[in-house]
């Protein structure tokens, strides 16, 4: 399966390989290879991280090739002589890498020469430079005495997570928006190493971001399964996919409701808000938790999707679809709503590519980036999924895409339920593993398309099979930049609906 081409190691989504198989390049060569690979349209960087390896710093870069359905791994080593080293920044050439290099700089003090936007990512507790504090964030300032700044956060009027937004404005027009995050750094990645038990780790994955429980837990489970060589049966795959799509439907419906609230369209807000409830109630009936906590476990499941539940689900979907359509027809053709969303917060296709947008933010700008399609996992390997695409990249597109994706997800769940091969056996899925023996000196990259976009988890083990590095990447990491871009030259009053239209995760970014 694994092949070595162009000094890289190509693996599949969720596959585990031995560390030694990953080619270690000179930085100059690494630089050239990464640039060459990223030149292709359908290759993007899903993760780029480093971990201390025998006093050195080992950098691992994962580049996903969407057309070949493979992930290329390559690495380089920065010997730690006297203090942190200095590398030439890749961001200058590929903007999308900015967040990874900033993270590396923040955590290890590695200087990236020529990086245009070297700012702290999340003020992690284990950051290299502990002197810099929250209120020292180096904001971009436009030199003028005629502009005013508006600072919003970290405590918001709406009950949302903490984040600080600073707008540099001329009157109503926003000239620059800068987002400072990192108000709730919990040290999730370090906790993965500190908590030895699988259950602890699973629960940790469940709470990376509360609204994407299924997505993150699934990514985690895939990592564990990959590292321990467990293969899942088709029934489990189907259940996982259904859970993922249900989560997508629920959150999207909630977001549509929230968008309606933000433009003061009360009817839409109330009805969509109410529509979300039966979906999450079904999840509760299935696994006991409305947000799907406890549903996804490594190697198996405690809660089988029984025939009774399947019948209920079918009925629920029929009911939901009908009611959703009725309200959506109204909400999506109401001119006052359309007027409010239209033509604002545009992120062009070019910009989306430059910043490496993922998930919805990418798909609304015409960038076809969907892990379900390009790196299929679970049931998506069997029944292919065709992503929904929009071109314009404005708030309306993001509002509209949610509707289309909900409809598509309903269809997809039906296709799984209708597919005989998944539910042939009456057998319940295997009981989840309690203790795992992980492959020594291995690495796994697991990707899942959560409702927000691609989630990437990656783990590295040492010679004894202990995890020595666990890396989580939430789609928000990329997409916060899209929010910044879409505010350029926009009216400040359009910020809330823009923010809501992305609905990015604060804790997923802060970790």
């Amino acid at each position: 399966m694994t092949r070595k081409i162009e000094n890289t190691l190509k693996i599949k989504n969720g596959q585990s390989v031995s560390l030694s198989e990953i080619p270690v390049l000179e930085y100059r060569e690494f630089y050239a290879v990464v640039l060459r690979l990223l030149n292709a349209e359908d290759v993007h960087c899903v993760n780029y991280y480093a971990y201390p390896d025998n006093d050195n710093l080992k950098f691992i870069c994962c580049l996903a090739d969407d057309s070949a359905q493979s992930v290329s791994l390559l690495s380089h080593i920065l010997p730690s002589g006297k203090g942190p080293g200095e590398l030439e920044s890749l961001t200058r050439r590929v903007g999308a890498l900015h967040i990874f290099e900033r993270e590396l700089w923040e955590n290890f003090g590695v200087k990236f020469e020529g990086h245009p936007w070297m700012k702290p990512v999340r003020f992690s507790h284990n950051r290299y430079n502990r002197i810099i504090a929250m209120h020292d964030y180096p904001f971009y300032r436009i030199k003028s005495e005629e502009l005013h700044e508006v600072g919003v956060g970290p405590i918001h009027a709406g009950v949302i997570e903490p984040g600080y937004f600073r707008f540099t404005c001329n009157g109503e027009m926003v000239l620059h928006l800068e987002i400072q995050l990192g108000w709730q750094h919990r040290g999730v990645e370090r906790l993965f190493l500190e908590k030895p038990k699988l259950l602890q780790r699973t629960m940790l994955a469940e709470s990376i971001t509360g609204d994407t429980t299924i997505g993150h837990t699934l990514a985690f489970a895939q990592v564990m399964e990959g590292l321990s060589g467990i293969s899942t049966d088709s029934r489990l795959d189907a259940e996982r996919s259904i859970a993922l799509e249900l989560e997508r439907i629920a959150v999207h419906t909630g977001d549509i409701s929230a968008l309606c609230t933000d433009v003061a369209y009360q009817l839409g807000a109330a009805v969509f808000g109410a529509l979300r409830t039966p979906i999450i109630n079904f999840t509760q009936e299935w696994c006991g938790n409305r947000f799907g906590k406890g549903l996804i476990r490594t190697g198996g499941s405690h809660y089988s999707l029984t025939n009774v539940l399947i019948q209920k689900l079918r009925k629920l979907l029929d009911d939901f679809e009908w009611r959703f359509k009725e309200m959506a027809d109204k909400a999506y053709s109401l001119l006052s709503v359309e007027n409010r969303f239209d033509n604002i917060g545009m992120v062009t296709n070019k910009q989306a590519r430059l910043i490496g947008a993922v998930g919805m933010a990418a798909r609304t700008s015409g960038v076809k980036r969907d892990i379900r399609h390009s790196h299929p996992f679970a049931a998506f390997r069997v029944i292919s999924y065709v992503p929904v695409m929009l071109e314009k990249g404005d708030v309306y597109a993001r509002y509209y895409l949610r509707r289309l994706e909900i409809e598509e997800s309903i269809n997809y769940i039906r296709r799984i339920l209708d597919n005989e091969q998944f539910f042939l056996s009456e057998t319940t899925p295997p009981v989840p593993e309690a203790n795992l023996h992980l492959y020594p000196s291995s690495i796994t990259v697991s990707m899942v398309e959560g409702w927000r976009g691609e989630i990437c988890h990656s783990a590295v083990t040492d010679e004894e099979g202990n995890i020595i590095h666990y890396k989580v990447k939430d789609p928000s990491m990329h997409n916060w930049k899209a929010l910044e871009l879409s505010l350029r030259g926009l009216e400040i009053s359009d910020f809330p609906i823009n923010n809501k239209s992305y609905n990015l995760s604060y804790c997923g970014h802060d970790l």
Binding site: A157, V271, D494
Partner: protein, 306 residues
């Protein structure tokens, strides 16, 4: 008896926010707060202490007082059928409009006193929109002056007659304009959404972010009073002269109730305007009132059209 309009308006003002809230709740299928909830809120605020920003000066403290006083004095002009307002005089509507402007001036300045970007935003928008809505009000009043040959609120409403189909149309347009002007003056939908929590898109509510206690209590009361002000005008607009006092009182409250329900309804069934659209929207009100004026010219046979 001249103060009847004033008294009735005060009564209806107390219920206004409650009725709007109940309507909105019913429209979205919620149970919603009780009608008197807003009054409890006001009472609670009255008992509360205040927090002042250290940046503010006396302007910030006196602004709500003047704002409230301006609306109350404006209500003193409110006629009721054949009873004059307490302070009625000729061309009193000019004083009325400028008095409202005093309150607004002070609120804007008071908001700017906090030195906050949010409140600056709200103040700026309020200043712009209230300046744009003025012409609509004056043209409408000019049309009524022309229609009735009188220049005080009391006389305007006493002498207004609707007889032909055409004059009913004018009456309808007049009511429409009064409602929309009220919406702009009160920063309600579709100009502004008072229920939103988004500091960046609000107008009036963001201006009063730093107010608390007694000041906030006055501001809350003023919201109702302002609605009652326009509700009262609309009610006066449609009273026929011949009705008895009791019928008028019933109609007065019905009109106010309907007005509140209409506001609640409007706020439920549409999205608010994009902020950049508001100036145009408000300007269109002036255009509509200009058409009303032209048609009044036609009714009074100043404009001879075959």
């Amino acid at each position: 008896m001249n103060g009847l309009g004033f008294l009735l308006s005060i009564v209806s003002s107390l219920l206004f926010p409650g009725i709007i809230a109940v309507t909105k709740a019913k429209m979205s299928g919620r149970k919603g707060p009780g009608i008197f909830q807003s009054l409890f809120d006001v009472a609670r605020l009255f008992r509360k202490g205040s927090i002042y920003s250290a940046t503010t000066s006396i302007i910030f403290q006196i602004a709500p007082v003047i704002y409230f006083a301006s609306i109350v004095v404006a209500l003193l002009f409110m006629p009721f059928g054949q009873y004059k307002g307490l302070l009625s005089f000729e061309a009193d509507f000019v004083f009325f409009a400028y008095l409202l402007a005093v309150g607004k001036f002070m609120m804007i300045v008071g908001a700017m006193d906090t030195g906050s970007g949010f409140e600056g935003m709200g103040a700026n928008r309020e200043a712009l929109y209230s300046l744009l809505v003025e012409p609509a009000f004056f043209i409408l009043m000019g049309s009524l002056v022309l229609l009735t040959s009188h220049t005080s609120f009391y006389n305007l409403f006493v002498h207004i007659h609707f007889d032909s189909f055409f004059s009913y149309l004018i009456a309808l347009l007049g009511i429409y304009l009064f409602i929309q002007i009220a919406m702009v003056e009160n920063s309600r939908m579709p100009i502004d959404d008072p229920k939103t929590h988004l500091e960046l898109t609000m107008i009036h509510e963001v201006m009063v972010l730093d107010n608390s206690g007694f000041d906030m209590c006055l501001i809350h009361l003023t919201t109702g009073l302002k609605f009652a002000l326009y509700g009262g005008l609309i009610a006066n607009f449609i009273f026929p002269e011949t009705w008895t006092l009791y019928a008028k009182i019933v109609v007065f409250f019905t009109v106010n109730l309907l007005f509140a329900i209409v506001v609640g309804f409007l706020e439920s069934c549409r999205a608010r305007n994009k902020l950049a659209k508001n100036p145009k929207w408000i300007l269109a009100l002036s255009s509509i009132s200009m058409v009303v004026f032209l048609s009044v010219l036609a009714i009074t046979h100043k404009l001879f059209l075959e």
